[in-house]
Symmetry: C2
């Protein structure tokens, strides 16, 4: 691979955000912490793939998973500060989508 | 697929921008029209894949390909208005990348 004049961090960021459904999951969580089922019913995505993406986003520090010791147990997903700071990018893409697609 | 509460246009926009290297090609063309070799040398991408992505972006109306009838012939790629209006999203992603990756 040639040495890129471009910032490899932009490439890494795009690899993260660009994955299918990732931006939509982030978009969904912008409205606050939600349970798995709520996210799943809002997106045309399988439970298996959603679970996979949420694990990746947790590992990347973009999403946080909170377990509430209630009966039955309650699990919620929310954006971390790193995740919330993607709002600007997601809103810009939303604006572009409304104008151009 | 469940009917999504989310805007399918956002999903389509992400499918376009999210493809590997697409955002970097757009980022590269923000600095103006360029020839194939200039784009290729700035990105760690194979000529074959770059050619494929440029064709897709041309089809989507994001990139324009101009052929100048000179000897030898000169071909330049540039962003269309639709492509240029992705600048906001790409700059936001760049800002996020600088802070968080």
């Amino acid at each position: 691979m040639k040495e890129t004049a471009l910032c490899p961090r932009l490439a890494k960021a795009m690899d993260l955000i660009g994955k299918r459904w990732t931006a939509l999951i982030i978009y969904q969580l912008l409205s606050g912490p939600q349970r798995f089922n709520a996210i799943e019913s809002a997106l045309p995505i399988s439970g298996r793939l959603l679970s996979e993406r949420l694990k990746e986003l947790e590992k990347e520090g973009v999403v946080e998973r909170k377990v509430y010791s209630e009966v039955p147990v309650r699990v919620e997903y929310s954006l971390t500060p790193k995740g919330r700071s993607l709002e600007g990018a997601v809103r810009e893409i939303e604006k572009w989508a409304q104008n151009w697609t």
